[in-house]
């Protein structure tokens, strides 16, 4: 009887021992599976988006992705507080999926944006540097207003800042700077071009003077001098062929025709040499006086007085010369044309009283200059 009881106990114990793991396994299997993989997937996607600077390029999308991730985590923690078998992770999975999808989208857009922005900025900076180059080439010696120069200067500075940011890979900052720079530079460049174009409205007249001067030089087989103010050139022709070309320095306010005494402008027109001054007669090495003002200049001056565009007390200028003492690299004369002493020696030697001197704004048209 005792033995029977003993075996009965052993069997019960064995059954219990056998059932315990089964129950434990069943208990474990019945526990709802936490959404670890989904949340990890969303975290990786967010991390990738962050490394692609999504916070800069697709801020809204990235923030949404982050917000969904945070919500997923909060929801997960809330579910964890419930009794283990009553937990439901569906909402956590939904939020994590949403976060991952938005983060991937943000990463893709950011990657493309960064590549596109890199290309865009590279081109934009190059284009703006070309504009700066054009401004420096065309307008360095062209008197634009202080306001325009200020805008150009600020535009150049912003372009530099944009380049500094671009070199550091700070594309978003570079973009802002480049946009501000573009606004200032293109606007100033357009204004400057308009100003220059207005000056070049006289080009047909200048061309006519230059053509006549060269034609007459050919017909008379004599020397003629042409001064191109814009390109700062003194061209010496003989028999219609260019013999010499020198750099000149002009009056400080060289743009436009001379209107009045003391305006520091170099006149424009067809003149002749009326007197030669050797080195003992001038303080500028040697000098060739031209017949400014000629008849046309006097008429223009009278018209301006009559119209009231010049005061009645205004006086017409005089004593315009081609002289030496140049080569200073700046426009410094009172309206005369300055050559270096050695070049002046050559011009002085070939020039005679009566030698034509034609002074024009430019011998080439505006399109050639702007091209």
């Amino acid at each position: 009887m005792r033995i029977k009881k003993f075996w009965k106990r052993i069997i019960i114990l064995a059954v219990i021992l056998a059932l315990v793991p089964v129950i434990i396994i069943m208990l474990i299997r019945l526990v709802p599976q936490p959404p670890q993989e989904k949340v990890e997937d969303a975290r990786i996607a967010l991390s990738e988006a962050a490394s692609n600077n999504a916070d800069t390029y697709t801020k809204k999308l990235y923030r949404e992705a982050k917000s969904f991730y945070d919500s997923a985590m909060i929801k997960w923690q809330e579910e964890n507080k419930r009794f283990i078998y009553f937990r439901n992770y569906e909402e956590v999975v939904r939020l994590a999926d949403l976060s991952a999808r938005k983060a991937r989208q943000a990463a893709k857009i950011s990657r493309n944006s960064e590549v596109d922005l890199n290309i865009f900025l590279k081109q934009k900076i190059e284009n703006l540097n070309n504009i700066v180059g054009q401004i420096d080439k065309i307008f360095t010696s062209y008197p634009l207003s202080a306001e325009v120069w200020n805008r150009i200067s600020r535009g150049k500075m912003l372009l530099k800042e944009s380049e500094v940011a671009y070199r550091k890979g700070q594309y978003a900052q570079s973009k802002v700077k480049v946009a501000d720079s573009e606004l200032l530079l293109t606007d100033s460049y357009e204004k400057a071009k308009t100003n220059l174009k207005e000056y070049f409205n006289s080009y047909p007249v200048w061309k006519n003077w230059v053509d006549r001067t060269i034609r007459e030089s050919r017909q008379n087989q004599n020397y003629s001098i042409i001064i191109d103010k814009y390109s700062r050139k003194c061209l010496v022709y003989h028999g219609g062929t260019k013999k010499y070309e020198y750099h000149v320095e002009l009056g400080k306010n060289w743009v436009g025709d001379k209107r009045v005494k003391g305006d520091k402008a170099t006149p424009e027109g067809m003149y002749k040499i009326v007197k030669k001054f050797g080195s003992n007669k001038t303080k500028y090495h040697k000098a060739l006086l031209i017949n400014y003002p000629n008849e046309t200049d006097r008429e223009e001056f009278k018209k301006e007085i009559a119209k009231g565009t010049l005061p009645r007390s205004a006086k017409i200028g005089s004593l315009i010369e081609i002289h030496g003492d140049g080569g200073r690299g700046v426009d410094w004369t009172e309206g005369c044309i300055a050559l270096t002493d050695s070049e002046m020696d050559v011009v002085y030697k070939i020039a005679m009283e009566g030698t034509p001197v034609t002074i024009v704004g430019s011998i080439v048209n505006i399109d050639q200059i702007l091209d």
């Binding site: 208990l27 670890q36 997960w76 150049k156 200073r328």
Partner: protein, 198 residues
Amino acid sequence: MKNKVLMGLAAIVMVAVLSSCGKKPQAEIDAANAAIEAAKTAEAAVYVPAEFAALQDSLNTVMADITAQESKLFKKFGPAKTKLASILTLANQVAANAGTKKEEVKAEVTTLLTGIKTVIEENGKLIPKLPRGKEGAAVIEQIKADVATVDAAVVEAQGLFDKGSFMDALNKINAAKEKADGLNAEVKEVLTKARIKF
């Protein structure tokens, strides 16, 4: 009967022990969060952005691990504790790196500011020596405009520096220095051409 009760109790104790063998490492989490906050205060996001992003990502990973463990019947926070300890060390390191980088940038800006002020001072002495004829001419207008722009940029950079925005100040002062140096070279070239000693 007595044995049955004992066995039942043993089973309950076993389940209880297995299901609560780990507690959420709240103290470690708080310490890691505080260290990350300190790194943030040290402007790690500005001066060492990649390191800071990696640090935050590490914390996110550990927090997800901890939450996952909390979901389980048998919790195991040991690895998370180790990771949190690493994060704490890393956060302190990132904060220190940010501080070092910030000091480097600050020193660089200080050097540039001193350098640019010297160049501006020199330009201030050179510009009045420009040929008289340049007065009112196009070039002098450009130089004046450039001088004003550089001055404004230096004031702006100094303002950013005083506010502690060293990184922003660095970008601005770098551009201004390039401009001031260019201006200095331009003025010297004009003076050399005009045969004026400087």
